[in-house]
Subunit: 393 residues, 2 copies
Amino acid sequence: MRRVYLDHAAGRPVDGRVLETMLPYFTQKYGNPSMVHTPGNEAREAIETARGRVAKLIGASKKEEIIFTSGATESNNLALKGVALRNRDRGNHIITSSIEHMSVINVCKDLAKQGFEVTYLPVDRYGVVDVAALEKELTEKTILVSIMYANGEIGTIEPIREISELVHDHGALLHVDAVAAAGQIPIDVEAEHIDLLSLSSNDIYGPRGVGALYIKTGTRIMPIIQGGGQERGLRSGTENLPGIVGMGKAAEIISAEMETESRRLAKLRDKMIRGILESVPVSFLNGHPTNRLPNNVNVRFSYIEGESLILSLDMEGVACSSGSACTSKTLEPSHVLLATGLKHEEAHGSLLFTLGRQNNEEDVDYVLGLLPGIVRRLRVMSPLTPKELIGDV
Amino acid sequence: MRRVYLDHAAGRPVDGRVLETMLPYFTQKYGNPSMVHTPGNEAREAIETARGRVAKLIGASKKEEIIFTSGATESNNLALKGVALRNRDRGNHIITSSIEHMSVINVCKDLAKQGFEVTYLPVDRYGVVDVAALEKELTEKTILVSIMYANGEIGTIEPIREISELVHDHGALLHVDAVAAAGQIPIDVEAEHIDLLSLSSNDIYGPRGVGALYIKTGTRIMPIIQGGGQERGLRSGTENLPGIVGMGKAAEIISAEMETESRRLAKLRDKMIRGILESVPVSFLNGHPTNRLPNNVNVRFSYIEGESLILSLDMEGVACSSGSACTSKTLEPSHVLLATGLKHEEAHGSLLFTLGRQNNEEDVDYVLGLLPGIVRRLRVMSPLTPKELIGDV
């Protein structure tokens, strides 16, 4: 059976060249970078090289502005808690959007329990954050605004430059969760005046268990994990040497290949979206029709459940999902889709395909060949399907 | 030049068999364990296998009691903050010792700022925690006691069973930092009535960037990293799949080989200690003479600085350290050595060798051949050295 992996938002293979670069750091170069001896020095240099490569991916001119973490969830936790708790003397208001990742939303809920006021900005039907609402909500008490660069679930790219201008006009700090965007579309933290930016290693084909947080020089922030004072005191714990080296290499590779690869993916994406909407009746695109991540296909089918679709496709070797990995275990529909105005049953009938490097046109053809039949079969079984539709297909 | 790595407390190579087990999870089996499709199921199973192996290493009968983290520093942060903040309604007193790792001590300092009272128990000249003092300090307000199983810097093994009995008699919870002990000496969380226990993957020859926290069923604790609710809501973030698989394999291997290997290392350790004390005048052993970790050699030499010794040995291919990686960057002497009653200059003149799997008798002979000459050369240059000593050597 053909195996077609279309769940790159949830997990990606590590690039072979990245793994190659990491390997010596497992078994041969295992010094602790805090140590003054030769193995320690070698480890320290390897980490600094990786730091420079990650900085370059997002246009940071000072590599010291990159802090390595254990992943994007920790980066988001550090950015939000670290800035909120450190800047409490300046205000207690935080603004975010209703379509952020759970590691932003759940941290905001926690901060609300600790006395912070949190505003969740609405989005339009395409998932674009309401910039006019942001302008209205910004007050002198606002210390931090956290908006994602692009949403990994519906693919919509947010107007970060506009947001950034408003935020800085009001003297607040801007945190951007760039996990879904980095490596797919160009990011320039300096030109876009971003104060903090979260990155995941695996989302750029690096290893899991590593991430980074860009922190603009001068940003007031405190650590959430304390100990030996690694990463300039902002993230204690012995550095994940092979992981960091891997993330650095992945950043270097994707910086060089992003333009070509994103163009290739966007073509596959458009073929897939067009193919699905044309071949499956009563099917719709979720997210922005044009301003979207090159690898993102999120579609919904009336009268059936995404879960059944996923399992049916899985039996044919196709791996895809109904939304974020972080909410897929619960039976709740995606908070992102609900925020765009979909009803519960519409959100439940959605399917997310995220393309990646190893996907090709045959993969897309394979799915396009399967999907209409599967949707029809499930609709025939569903008591919700109108009779005329089943007759029609 | 011969390369002799004797800094295993700071960093270890990954076991070749462990790396072998991890490799498929980088490039072939990269599903997200939260997902319901086949790659997701495979990932979930791999994580549960690893969880069972880690549980077995420390005698936990329920694998669900193991939570994977990004490393021992995070485990210690989660154990202390998670328990303290969750049990605030029961009391605000925490007891720890003066020789804990910085990820315990600095977290305690942070909790003190948040209104907790922290007692730091003294240790005797060998680094053994004062159990009588513990008994005196325990009150009905004490919610948590955190004592390490063994100290990685001076090798001293703590009387955990005695401590455990006292702590539970007073209705408090016991957290044990077992990073230095695990895989070197047997641990049984159930027989020893331990409520929480921190582990590091790299310290058992697994990959860096992974750790675990044993949390006994029923222990009241809250997360410090929030998001998608992975690890039963106690540690959000996409699981570090290859890392967790690697830690599991490392736990399995070390469970099987610990007894033989620890006996072998203890012999090398004793040869090295005896050799140094016999061949270098005015040299002393730090830590407990008998009740110590099998891989730990910590010695001090009057009149000279550990830093110069490390650099001199490094030039001969020997990697060792002056103490914990987490404090070695600062010029402060080791807080552990100071707690055992050493003066600043005595602590500064200390050298830590930590043996590991690839070390053999020739390595020990090599160091024993070098050390007396290096110490003598440095003493000749030191203004502190008494004339008669230099004449003597």
